[in-house]
Amino acid sequence: MSKTITDVVCPFCGTLCDDLIVTTDDEGKKILGVDNACAIGAEKFIHSSDHSHRVTRPRKMQEDGSFKEITYEEAIEHTAKILVNAKKPLMYGWSSTSCEADSVGHEIAELCGGIVDNTAAVCHGTTLIAVQNVGIPSCTLGEVKNRADRIIFWGCNPAHAHPRHMSRYSIFPRGYFTGKGAKQRKIIVVDPRPTDTTNLADIHLQVEQGYDYELLQALRAAIRGEPLAGDVIAGVPKETVYEAVDVLKSGRFGVIFFGMGVTQSLGKDHNIDAAICLTKDLNDYTKFSIVAMRGHYNVTGSGQVLGWQYGFPYSVDLSRGFARYNPGETGSIEVLKRQEADAIFVLGSDPGAHFPMRCVKEISRLPSVAIDPHITPTTEICDVHVPVAFVGVEVGGNCYRMDNVPIEARKVVEPPEGMMTDQQFLSAVLERVKELKAN
């Protein structure tokens, strides 16, 4: 016999699908099957329930580079000491865990006078800068499903990165005012390369790599009926630009989805700034919204928690007892590159695989702790690796979808015996930090 759990939330990407059906064995220990999920999401569930390859106890790196198993108590002591002794610890990650754990982590950072930064620093952080500069006219994905008939995908490839985004929200679903589904929608994709998403597009604006800002400003000028200089705008023929503008203006409700192609290419926050202004301009003619395609399932949540606790969504420097925020100075990459931090704590992220080599070298040089259910390039270079239960699989918790809608992730199976969750581990560290600080 087996048990079936319905309406399970998928803890993989920012789409946070909440209609998964997971089949487990009777004891609720092993996952037998996952329905409705995309290939990546299903793999995350199946993979986590296979305990044979998982590290179940904390490990400490020895002098020869090998790892030796230690107890959770030793790991807590080690982590607390690193953080208390540091002058400016960097606490990075927070995106692949629950909001509850984030909140405890921030309390530790505040006590220790550290920098709290989440993965937005190398992802959609530039979006948040632009939002701070010019505001954001946004909507939820439910509105997109039920109303949108003009969709722009700018610098993102949901066919691979957010596999169920198009079928659940943006292109195919039939909603309240979008009864004809895909037939009713016009899709514009802006991408320098042909991808599986551009194959679905009505108009593919093949922009020259790194010239999104020019194209965005040209679109804005074209919307105002101004003349454009030159026949080819950033690799796109002028006629196509005007054609795209006509398509956008003629819609009833449009949405711009944008991804890392614009947030991390030349211009960064300025690209998003211009995209938001384009949305604002289009609202003179029809209704338009803009939504960021966030990556990690709870990177939005991390920003939300930081937002309500300190007022800033990422790269928050608490070293002087009050919150300061200035990406370019307090962002993880800059801090590591300039050697501004003297300890690093990583939770729910993998900077070892995604940061520039100079920063990764700096991580390996500093006293470090990595908290991650998996073995990753980061855990291999950190002094101590603390394995924890999977949020959304082995423990529940609050998460935020890419459109800032909170969704409660559910527990489907038991974690391996004696394994701590993020929140339990952080609470224990917080307790120990308080003791050390009191002395």
């Binding site: 006078g113 500069n133 020019e214 200089a229 030159g230």
Partner: protein, 335 residues
Amino acid sequence: MDTVKLTSKVVPELYLEAEHISPDVFAGKSNQEIGDLSVHMGNQTYKISDYFTVEGKAGATAAETKIVVAGDVSKVKYIGMKMTAGEVEVLGNADMYVGAWMEGGKLLVKGSVDSFAGIAMKGGELIIEGDAKNYIGAAYRGDWRGMQGGKIVVKGNVGSDVGSNINGGTIDIGGNADVHLATHAEGGTIIVRGIAKGRVGGQMVKGDIYCLGGVERMMPSFKYDHTEEIELDGKKMNFQVYYGDLGERHGKKKGEIIYGKIYLTAAQPEGGEGATAVKSERKAKLSEKQLEQLATELKEMKEPSVQNVREYIKKTFGIDLKPMQVSRLIDSLSR
């Protein structure tokens, strides 16, 4: 005017935040009191005297005080922050936020500075004799008011995002400027004497940008209007005037729409996209003989890193290649 001389004793382990190094704070204080002022490193608080020796004498008011900062202060932030009068002279390089939120007085840096120099500046004079990095005279994060007055002079090159949200004052750049010059500008003047890389005046509402060395790639949302003779530094020059940013809102004055203006020296040839395009330096290349020499050298190096090879090329051939070029070179030669 009385002079206080600060000489750095030790290079800080991390970075030092020294917002008290300003004539406004030093004025009327004895050397003992100045030495007791706080500096911060991470979550720790230290005294100025832990890192600097204090000599000389401070004036009674800020306007009568001059501060000379000697020694290595390339890891010290916030020098001359919020100063309103007096003088500060930094003999070497300085880190971020030099003269940030400055309101008056004179600040001279003989070396180079990092980012955020003179952000949200309201008045005074900030002179940087070396290079400066990004966000010079820009707005602080989230603020819509960048530089509002005063003058910034950078003799060398500057990074990106210079003068974003500028709505007053002058920025004079002796060298080249990276992308995003005067984004969201609502006023003010920027002069680039070298080459401006691109995205000049994006989302600009009002203001003047003079590009004496041309712009590598103009924004498509700027239109050429007319040629005008303008006096700059006492010399009369012909400038092509571009209006924009056409994608942005623009106010009206006496019935006429007021645009942001980019002035290009008229001698530049007309480029392909209706804009004045100037090639910067030609991409540096190695000759075949040099390549052969490099190939034999690479064989001797066991694991050639991009950095090492780049330094080697710079030393032996005197050519500064981009890291990407070097990495391609290594790949092709090792095959």
